[in-house]
């Protein structure tokens, strides 16, 4: 890590500690509020509502902590049981959902020690950094006033101007120490928070089951919709054309003796229709499973895709083998969607795709030099991609600041099969 990066991390940790100390001051009031909610919960009619509100305040506070932890590089996931239907808010069942969730109690247990640790560590970081800054800034003040008073670090009180000069290097050292210490203390802080705010093993499994339930339902829905689309396309397209081919040939049969010319015309027509039907089938097949994907695997198919784009697109891959067919197809369509989005919105002049596979994780990146501003929340296409990848426990992340560049990263756990020869 370069000095510059370290310094930046130090400053951000110092700035964060202002924040965390401030937030920590809320913990005790939040705790008291929640106990008040528990005490009032037996009150008829309103009690359950009060508990629901105070609990959401607690959860707001711990969620802020989780988000900050995740931002500081220490991911903390939400541990709560899935909520009962929204309409039951304020009922006894809602209250039971709150009370029986161990995560609620772990939140409560965290509030006071968490605050103490946040204040202790935050103040330490801030104190060291501020003292260092004071050393650096005090010298000009002394020089300006032409008078030395007070003391600094080793020299206390400061006896003469020479010692006053020495406050500058001392201040710099202390400041550097503070900036180095900040990130370490911040990590310690969030490590403690994770101890209580992250899901336990049991909660982890429960969340996993909930996730699998949702993604499985999504996958089944998507598949059913896909089958319906294929059925409709076949029914209205190729199938209808083949019926017409049969009819035309039947008419030609009737005409062949009395009007050979007319029969010929009809046969030519039948041939054209059969060609159209084939073109339609080809189109449909490409949408189901592109032939080039079956023939060349992910890399070749993405290359073929890149060739058809108006934007020059560089494809590089270090895949040593083939992926499982369902996964290969999901990744292919994800890349296709990403590239299509790029073509529609990014105004890019070049783009690139990299496909890599290391230690059981497939990583695919699609990037361009366009205007940025891509957002999963806005495009239904990208949401579809996310759902598709979710079914394989994959994730998708987009980095697309306004002004670009846009980089979309997809990661999927998977194994490679040995290359086919």
């Amino acid at each position: 890590m370069t000095l510059r990066v370290r310094a930046r991390a130090g400053w951000s940790a110092a700035a964060d500690s202002v924040f965390t100390v401030g937030l920590a001051l809320l913990n005790v009031p939040v705790l008291l509020l929640w106990f008040l909610g528990v005490v009032l919960s037996p009150v008829p009619l309103l009690g359950n509502d009060i508990l629901a509100v105070t609990t959401s305040v607690v959860r707001w506070r711990t969620d802020v902590e989780r988000r900050l932890g995740t931002r500081a590089g220490m991911a903390i996931r939400r541990p709560y049981h899935p909520a009962p239907p929204r309409g039951e808010q304020g009922t006894r069942r809602w209250a039971r959902w709150i009370i029986t969730d161990p995560a609620t109690w772990r939140d409560i247990a965290w509030l006071v020690p968490g605050a103490l640790i946040a204040v202790g560590l935050g103040i330490t970081t801030l104190a060291v950094v501020i003292y260092g800054l004071a050393g650096v800034l005090m010298l000009p003040l002394w020089l300006f006033l032409g008078e030395v008073w007070f003391g600094y670090a080793l020299f206390w009180p400061t006896a003469n101007l020479a010692e006053a000069w020495l406050s500058l290097p001392q201040g710099l050292i202390i400041l550097a120490g503070g900036l180095a210490l900040g990130p370490l203390l911040r990590t310690t802080h969030y490590r403690f928070a994770r101890l209580l705010l992250a899901p336990t093993r049991a909660a982890e499994l429960r969340l996993r089951v909930a996730h699998l339930t949702v993604t499985r339902a999504d996958a089944i829905d998507a598949q059913a919709a896909e089958l319906r689309r294929i059925e409709r396309d076949l029914h209205d397209g190729a199938q209808a054309r083949m019926v017409s081919v049969g009819m035309t040939i039947g008419m030609a049969e009737r005409l062949v003796h009395c009007d050979p010319d007319g029969a010929l015309k009809l046969l030519a027509e039948a041939r054209t229709t059969s060609t159209d039907a084939l073109a339609e089938l080809r189109h449909l097949v490409r949408g189901i499973h592109p032939p080039v994907l079956a023939e060349r695997g992910l890399e070749g198919a993405v290359q073929a895709l890149a060739m058809s784009l108006p934007v020059p697109t560089d494809v590089s891959s270090d895949l040593a083998g083939r992926l499982d067919t369902p996964l290969e197809s999901a990744v292919y369509f994800a890349v296709a969607e990403a590239l299509a989005n790029m073509g529609r919105h990014s105004q890019a002049s070049t783009a690139w795709v990299t496909i890599g596979h290391t230690s059981g994780l497939l990583t695919v990146q699609v990037g361009d030099d366009g205007i940025g501003g891509a957002d999963t929340a806005r495009g239904t296409g990208l949401q579809g991609v996310e759902r598709r990848l979710n079914a394989f426990d994959g994730t998708m992340a987009i980095s697309s600041p306004p002004g670009g560049p846009t980089v979309m990263t997809m990661e999927l756990p998977c194994a490679l099969s040995s290359p086919r020869t």
Partner: protein, 211 residues
């Protein structure tokens, strides 16, 4: 003319064999899988090979791979590749050795028998026969060759698709004489020095599709 056919679907293989024989081609071997194709091509050195891209045992692109391998061994071995779908990627791979005698058509085109036979003959004589769909997809990528008039581009496109001068004349509703005038203009504009005609046609097509 001696032909090798590689096609795994029995119906289509027999149909192709029958069709080629009806047009006085001699089918020296008709293989139904990938591994048998390369030895057949190298053993017979046919005047033209008609090869399906996708063949057993893996049903990926072994037909195309064998064709490319055979052309690496015997430069310019005429190969007409057939497929259920066309990929510009494959067309480019067939074009990379900058020699003629290649074709790449959708299987659908077989239904127009005369035109298909013409394409086979074009490939056998060292020309090219690319599917209109592949030409369109390749051209969508880049600006067409600068300096050619739209009419000249039409003619060049027809050459790429494997039409003879007579056929081009019929398709564009002009006389054959006008066609050869256009073709000479194209050669001049692309800076192709006078040499044998087939070679210049191939070079023009390469420049056209690969611009």
């Amino acid at each position: 003319m001696r032909v090798v056919i590689a096609e795994d679907l029995t119906l289509l293989r027999d149909g192709l064999t029958r069709m080629m024989e009806a047009f006085d081609f001699e089918v020296v071997e008709a293989v139904d899988n990938g591994p048998a194709l390369l030895p057949a091509l190298l053993g017979h050195r046919p005047d033209v090979a008609i090869v399906d891209v996708r063949l057993p045992p893996t049903y990926s692109d072994e037909g195309l791979k064998a064709a490319l391998a055979a052309r690496a061994e015997v430069p310019g071995l005429p190969v007409l590749v057939l497929s259920q779908h066309v990929e510009p990627l494959y067309a480019r791979e067939l074009l990379t050795d900058s020699r003629g005698g290649v074709g790449y058509l959708l299987k659908d085109r077989i239904s127009d028998v005369e035109q298909f036979i013409q394409a086979v003959q074009q490939v056998a004589s060292g020309g090219t026969a690319f599917d209109p769909e592949v030409v369109t997809q390749l051209l969508a990528r880049h600006e067409p060759l600068a300096g050619l008039t739209p009419r000249e581009l039409d003619v060049l496109r027809n050459i790429a698709e494997g039409h003879s001068n007579a056929a081009i004349a019929g398709r564009l509703f002009i006389t054959e004489k006008v066609v050869s005038k256009y073709i000479n203009n194209i050669f001049t504009k692309l800076g192709l020095p006078p040499s044998d005609d087939v070679n210049r046609r191939v070079l023009a097509v390469l420049m056209f599709l690969d611009a």
